[in-house]
Amino acid sequence: MNESVKSVLLVGVGGQGIIRASDILSAVMMKAGFDVKKSEVHGMAQRGGCVSSHVRFGRKVYSPMAKEGDVDILVSFEKLETLRYLKSLKTCGKVIINNEEVYPPSVNLGEAEYPSDAIDFIKKYFKDVKVVDAIAMALRSGDKRMVNTVILGVLSSYLDIKTSVWENVLEESFPPKILKGNIEAFRLGRGV
């Protein structure tokens, strides 16, 4: 096992900006001097399905995906999806959860229940669980779509990388028109 490699798994639902967030995280890690690999599945994800994106960094990274039970931080953009990918975490893994519910079709049709006690369940098995109301913070920064930047801000406080590196990459990632809001969203998240 390649012990020096760290793995972050970002999960959620198509349209939540997960791929963008993992691109930014990867760029930050590269700028910080790590070898980086990231992997996700495109295609059908645009149409409301599950999205998951692995980001791995270290001195030398081979596999772009971590094996099950080897993820250091699970960053979940949606409550139900956290449960789906919980098995991927190390026993001492950390969880960041955006407190948002997006109903899958079977729940919309009234055929299945959306799990009501997800957070309690997760806390029973993992010590380090942070639940954030990222939508509210994104709205405070001016746009609901900045949820992913807020969550990156939260994640950044788990990784030992200077704020300036993050903000440099944000500057390269967003057009000037929406940069200010995104920086604000990032700082709100980092302050959580």
């Binding site: 639902v13 295609g43 081979y62 772009p64 995906m65 079709p105």
Partner: protein, 615 residues
């Protein structure tokens, strides 16, 4: 300069750096972004061809004209292109010809997971396989060099994980590369009638012989000696999974998977005690090594299906296996890969399959089809998703264009008339629907064909096609007119409907089903994502008045993402029951609604209306 690039972007970059200026392709996941990226480089010509067979023929023509040509497709696209493929192997090329096959183990976005290394072997074409973006950029250059040196088309095989993973790539400056463009008359090489093909067939074997020798010293076929107790023979992405799980073992990493370097394999085998072959899908390398009389462990412990990851490789090698075929190792799924994490109870979670977008024009059409007593032969595209509940609008999906031929065949054998509808998208119809439509006219079909024309290739991410009026590189061009085309083919009954008008769509399809002879219905409305991109929608989102909703669930039958069911007992406010049986109401998440009005058309109690003010 260093950059994070996907495998697909790196292939495009490598081609550009190598001075490649010609590429043709048909979009298909996971290959599409190669062309999206390549087309943006300065000084290149890149086209979307109508299908993979045409794309390859275009590439062959360009190569015969002296250009170095790149042809890109997904794994099943090679099936479509197989006819020219097997013979261009005989003729060889002038300029250089590299074909990308992007395979999709696990079928993330495909109808099968065929292993296209088999094509390399049966068409006698060398194949390279990179394991990450850096190699992808380098291997495309090597592929062109091999193509020119050995006068052969060359395959570069990628898989979804290589194509869609990002890793660090060192950018280099593009090299201008001379090409001797022009026509050459050489019938003995390029006119493959039997008399000419027979000698070329012998040339193919001579070429394979030379390539075998080349493979032995090819620097990307490399032995990494470490702990000699275990040796792993592998290629492509599985190399990374193996190195991740077992960094201390010895490796034979194959950059070229066809032909295999037999001498190098023997050398490796002599240096290690036990050999595993780590490869996804077919035992392609394994069987060839076993045929050499070398003992290796492969599919006795590794799954036949699905992509691997470090956990699967680790479990296969360290696990207790009987050595017999074990069906339990055949199944792999995205959220369980055999590793050891926290021991969690199994949760029954509601699944989250992909769904048609809010405001998708396919929804109205398939709502109508699902309610009619007909069999719908479907096809490949976003609309395939409509087979699911609650729409249940489709009964089959085999390959691009199959809907029309199948509808005709079914219509011929079913006694009752007016029971079969074939449905396919605009890009899919152009890909391979025109010939079977002509067949319906010629052989007097009674089936109805519906083209769901959303003015783009939506599934793969909005690519242009011959009916959009634009080329890949954004030039204005002729726009195919489906109505005129149908008339020319001899179809007398051609109708155009707006799928957002449920009533009219239903009555038109019913009329055409009752008619003698083949009918074509064009269900025309732009893709919801395209409409957003073009800012073409001025629709107002809808909302449901809880005091008017009778809980009839008609709107839920659309399977539209913003519409959900709420039980009366879970409501914060008290709702008066409109019927004795009512136990809930439907609600619309207006922030998510596109205002297409389909649900409004189905609501018999007038409960659905436009959002007013800042609701």
């Amino acid at each position: 300069m260093k950059e994070l690039m996907s495998g697909n972007e790196a292939i495009a970059r490598g081609a550009y750096e190598h001075g490649i200026t010609f590429a043709s392709a048909y979009p298909g996941t996971p290959s599409t972004e190669i062309m999206d990226a390549f087309a943006k480089y300065d000084g290149v010509y890149a086209e979307w061809s109508p299908n993979e067979k045409v794309a390859l023929e275009v590439g062959i023509g360009a190569a015969l004209g002296g250009a170095r040509a790149l042809v890109v497709m997904k794994h099943v696209g090679v099936n479509v292109a197989a006819d020219p493929l097997f013979t261009v192997s005989y003729t060889g090329i002038e300029g250089g010809l590299v074909i990308i096959s992007a395979d999709d183990p696990t079928m993330h976005s495909s109808q099968n997971e065929q292993d296209n290394r088999n094509y390399a072997r049966s068409a006698k074409i060398p194949m390279l396989e990179p394991s990450d973006s850096s190699e992808a950029k380098e291997f495309i250059k090597i592929a062109f060099r091999i193509s020119e040196e050995f006068d052969t088309p060359v395959f570069l095989r990628s898989t979804t994980r290589v194509s869609h993973s990002k890793s660090v790539v060192e950018l280099e400056e593009p090299e201008a590369r001379e090409e001797k463009r022009g026509t050459r008359y050489d019938p003995s090489k390029y006119v493959m009638v039997p008399a000419m093909a027979r000698p070329r067939r012998i040339e193919v074997e001579k070429r394979m012989d030379k390539l075998l020798k080349f493979a032995e010293t090819f620097s990307e076929n490399r032995i990494e000696i470490n702990d000699t107790k275990v040796g792993i023979i592998t290629a492509g992405m599985p190399y990374n999974y193996s190195k991740d799980a077992f960094p201390d073992y010895s490796y034979l990493k194959l950059g070229m998977v066809h032909p295999l370097p037999r001498g190098l394999i023997r050398e490796f085998a002599s240096k290690v005690e036990k050999i595993y072959v780590v490869e996804e899908l077919d035992p392609f390398i394994e069987e060839q090594v076993k045929a050499m009389g070398i003992e290796v462990v492969g599919k006795e412990v590794f799954p036949y299906t699905g992509e691997f990851d470090p956990g699967i490789v680790e479990t296969a090698i360290t696990g207790n296996h009987t050595g017999e075929y074990d069906p339990s190792i055949v199944e792999t799924d995205i959220t369980s890969n055999g590793g050891v994490g926290t021991d969690l109870p199994t949760l029954a979670l509601p699944s989250r399959p992909p769904n048609l977008c809010p405001g998708c024009p396919h929804r109205g059409l398939f709502y109508v089809l699902g309610k009619l007593n007909v069999f719908v032969t479907g096809d490949i595209g976003c609309y395939t998703l409509s087979f699911m509940k609650p729409l249940k609008g489709m009964g089959s999906c085999i390959c691009m264009g199959a809907s029309i031929g199948m509808a005709h065949g079914m219509d011929k054998v079913i006694e009752e008339k007016g029971k079969v509808v074939g449905v396919l998208g605009d890009s899919t119809f152009i890909h391979s629907g025109i010939t079977p439509l002509l067949n319906m006219v010629y052989n007097k079909s009674n089936a109805v064909v519906v083209i769901c024309d959303n003015s783009t290739t939506a599934m793969t991410g909005m690519q242009e096609h011959p009916a959009t009026g634009f080329t890949l590189q954004g030039e204005v061009t002729k726009k195919l007119d489906f109505v005129k085309l149908a008339e020319v083919l001899g179809i007398e009954n051609v109708r155009v409907v707006d799928p957002f008008d449920i009533k009219n769509t239903r009555s038109v399809i019913k009329e055409e089903l009752s008619r003698e002879g083949p009918s074509l219905v064009i269900s025309k409305a732009p893709c919801a994502l395209l409409a957003v991109k073009q800012k073409a929608i001025g629709r107002t989102p809808l909302t449901i008045d809880p005091d008017k909703c009778t809980g009839c669930r008609a709107c839920l039958g659309l399977g539209c993402p913003p519409i959900s069911w709420k039980k009366l007992e879970d409501m914060d406010i008290k709702i008066e029951k409109k019927t004795k049986k009512q136990d809930g109401i439907a609600i619309i998440d207006s922030s998510f609604c596109n205002g297409c009005t389909l649900c409004q058309q189905l609501c018999s109690s007038g409960a659905i209306g436009e959002v007013v003010g800042d609701e």
